[in-house]
Amino acid sequence: MTLLAAVLLSVACKLVPGHLRAQYEAEWSAECEAIAMSDGVWSSLRYAGRLVLGAPRTGYVLRTNNRPVFFDVLLMSVTLAVPAMFFVAHSAITGQLLVAFAYSWLCIGLLVVASSAWSAESGLFGGKISASGLIMVLIASVVITSLNLLTDTHNPALDGPIRVLPGSVAAQIGVLLVMLSAWLGPQRVEVARLGLSLMTLGLVIWAAIGVLNTVLVETWGERIFHGVSVPSALAVASGCWLIRREGPALITPKPSQEVVLVS
């Protein structure tokens, strides 16, 4: 095993609970050695790298006594819902009741997605509740964008020297595709993956524009709005990318394809 693989393994093992560390250290280093001998050093390094990337989740799930592996979605939804609640309050205070209502609807949709992810027994996008939450999120975000474009409502999260429209539209198309993949059935894994890619791209664009707006705006009030949006957008973008990487495992396979029973 190379020194780099050993360092990666050491990092990965530090992230798992202490009482299991010795077992995982022995298991993973033996696996790395065996892979290096059979598949080569690069495969061994790749495996060690994947272990490091997966170790936070391994540690989290083991520490929290086998909580569902869907916690990424819960964290993503809550990450988006927190600034959305902030925007509900702002819209209500400034008397923009329709915007406030749309943001509330967005929050509820996100919490529905989160709750369905937390209790999901099937694939992530295979449940009616999860898809209903996505529909609510989509309707709310389209309403918020439309109100911003077509009326004179002032929405500090969307307004600014540079409009976040390209990012928000890409993210909305992404949500639409993810929702469609749920409708079309589990065989449409590629649609879901494309949707997640678009959501990631849209949110990264949003965050980049948000950073520029934070610099360019003149008042601290507006700066706070953009400052709140940027970390949320980045966190959710990384979550979307992680879920996209999981791919087929998160989408319910068709019963006829998934069960191979032994007699």
């Binding site: 299991l20 077992q23 995982y24 022995a26 298991e27 993973w28 280093s29 033996a30 696996e31 050695e33 065996a34 892979i35 001998m37 495996y47 994947r50 272990l51 990337l53 997966g54 170790a55 936070p56 989740r57 391994t58 799930v61 083991l62 086998n66 569902p68 592996v69 869907f70 999901a120 027994e121 099937s122 694939g123 992530l124 295979g126 449940g127 009616k128 898809a131 749920a182 409708w183 079309l184 059935g185 589990p186 990487r245 999981e246 791919g247 087929p248 495992a249 998160l250 989408i251 319910t252 396979p253 068709k254 019963p255 006829s256 998934e258 069960v259 191979v260 029973l261 032994v262």
Partner: protein, 109 residues
Amino acid sequence: MATPFRLTSQTRLLLTHLLGDVNSDHYGFEILKATGLKPGTLYPTFARLEEAGWIEGRWENIDVETTNRPARRYYRLTAHGSTEAAAALERHAEKAALQAPTVLGGLSS
């Protein structure tokens, strides 16, 4: 009968793979390659299944000096685990088949 843990799609994928060859020992890297699962999903699932008594882990029985590498950790379904896993997957398949597409189309198919 309910399973002692959440039967997620990843867990089903792993159980299906293990059921495919109940008499063989399986190890982490082989399962990752075969199922496409990620390490962050696979190892907690191993822990969950082992805790429930569905699989058992054991260290590979090799002469470390001859093979020049440490022993791998192997996993295989227990007899109890094989029966329970097959039944749970069958129940899931039946449940999924019963959830015929309704107004929401293929949502639950």
